[in-house]
Amino acid sequence: MEKKVLLALSDVVAGYAAPVVGPLGFELQAGQVIGLGGSNGSGKSTLLRAITGLSKVFSGTIQRAEGLTIVHQWQRPELPPELALLGSELYALLGADPAGAPDVLCPLMKQPLSTMSGGQFQLLQTMAALCSPAQVVLMDEPTNNLDGDAMDALSEQLKHIGPDRAVILVSHEHDFLQSHCATIIEVNR
């Protein structure tokens, strides 16, 4: 049986004031993890933002399955220096259930963001996106600042995304992409 297409990009050229990336096209099917590789500044993050509607699509089309839900984990999320929001409160923002959070997050759930390290905050944001009910998860350099245990937890979660969901994974770590993605697309300017 053919899998459901969640996203279809066709000859997309995207950017801001001027085009940054493209033309590029691919289909994202349910159950798939697609990797986007390429050098710094090649436009991988811009392509993710074109999918969410934050960057401009100059030409080409982005088709979405009806009622598609998307969550986007940003590269280098800013850790607020003084915000008493708890890990569990951030985790629940996207609809993930803190009670069912992976074990690696348990120590962070009752901890305020302001006392977290950059790596802990990155792990929390990444897991919140992956464990949310969104059908498509866009992950931008999720391995930044993560140590070995956190990388293992992320890998485990990526292996169990479910048959109805899909992930687009941006990373400059080629080994990480190769071990998690059925398809890797090289993005070049």
Partner: protein, 276 residues
């Protein structure tokens, strides 16, 4: 004599206006701090003061002038692709200079300018009280709807766009709340005291307790307690209310130093348990 003034019916409207504003402004301040936009409050309050001055110069209602000026500044803010502290600093400079320039063109302009910068709570009218109560009601009613949307936009900035959820309802609601809070705060408490009420309570509240709801409640308690102390002390000592409120809020800021140690100890303990 001052003790008796505390219970004078003449001061009931100013007292209740200030109390409603203390609760509302400290909560709005928590939202602004969470969005890292607390400097916007000072920029808008200075612009509102200039608008109020312009309205008085044109023989119009000060409240309306302040609202129009703040709304124009807020609208200009939304048209800029990236807004930051540089723009808010420009707002402060424009508002301050415009207030004093307009004042120099008026009879008793210095007094009027000083009033909007320093505050005139004791002269708050029923119109001010009604506006403050409407603001407090709107803030209380929309809190549970607005907070998760603002928090989601803070940590996942394109979540709403990505899911085709219209952003204009919550953005417009938030903008109107901020404008109204700043305008009514500026025209009653004064530009700097209103800014202090938006800035200090959450500065303290965000470090003395953990958790979003609790830190918002803590911010409101700090703001309200500071207001009550300032109102009573200003009356008893025959001092102007605006500067007294600002001083009390600044003193409340010292509560941070008592909690900073607790936070440091906690951070060390957490790091020991989870060295990564």
């Amino acid at each position: 004599m001052s003790e008796w003034l505390l219970f004078d019916p003449m001061f009931r409207v100013p007292f209740l206006t200030g109390l409603a504003l203390a609760l509302a402004l400290s909560l709005v301040g928590a939202w602004l701090r969470m969005r890292n936009e607390w400097l916007a409050a000072l920029g808008l309050s200075q612009i509102a003061a200039a608008g109020a001055m312009a309205a008085v110069w044109l023989h119009g209602p000060a409240l309306l002038g302040a609202f129009i000026a703040a709304a124009i500044a807020m609208l200009a803010r939304t048209t800029l692709p990236r807004i930051g502290n540089n723009h808010y600093a420009l707002m402060i400079l424009i508002g301050w200079s415009a207030t004093l320039m307009i004042g120099s063109m008026m009879d008793h302009g210095n007094v009027a300018g000083e009033t909007f910068l320093r505050g005139q709570l004791y002269f708050a009218s029923t119109q001010h009280l009604v506006t403050a109560l409407i603001l407090l009601t709107v803030v209380a009613v929309t809190y549970r709807w607005l907070s998760p949307r603002l928090l989601t936009a803070r940590f996942f900035p394109d979540y709403h766009q990505a899911n085709r959820i219209p952003v204009w309802p919550y953005r417009t609601c938030f903008a109107l709340i901020v404008i109204t809070a700043v305008v009514i705060g500026t025209t009653t408490m004064g530009a700097f005291p209103a800014f202090a009420m938006l800035f200090v309570p959450s500065w303290v509240g965000f470090v003395i307790v953990d958790g979003w709801q609790r830190s918002v409640i803590a911010s409101m308690l700090v703001g309200t307690a500071a207001y009550l102390i300032a109102f009573v002390v200003a009356m008893l000592l025959d001092q102007p209310f605006g500067p007294m409120l600002t001083i009390v809020l600044v003193l409340a800021g010292t509560l941070r130093f008592f909690t900073a140690r607790r936070r440091r100890i906690k951070t060390i303990a957490v790091d020991d348990l989870h060295p990564y």
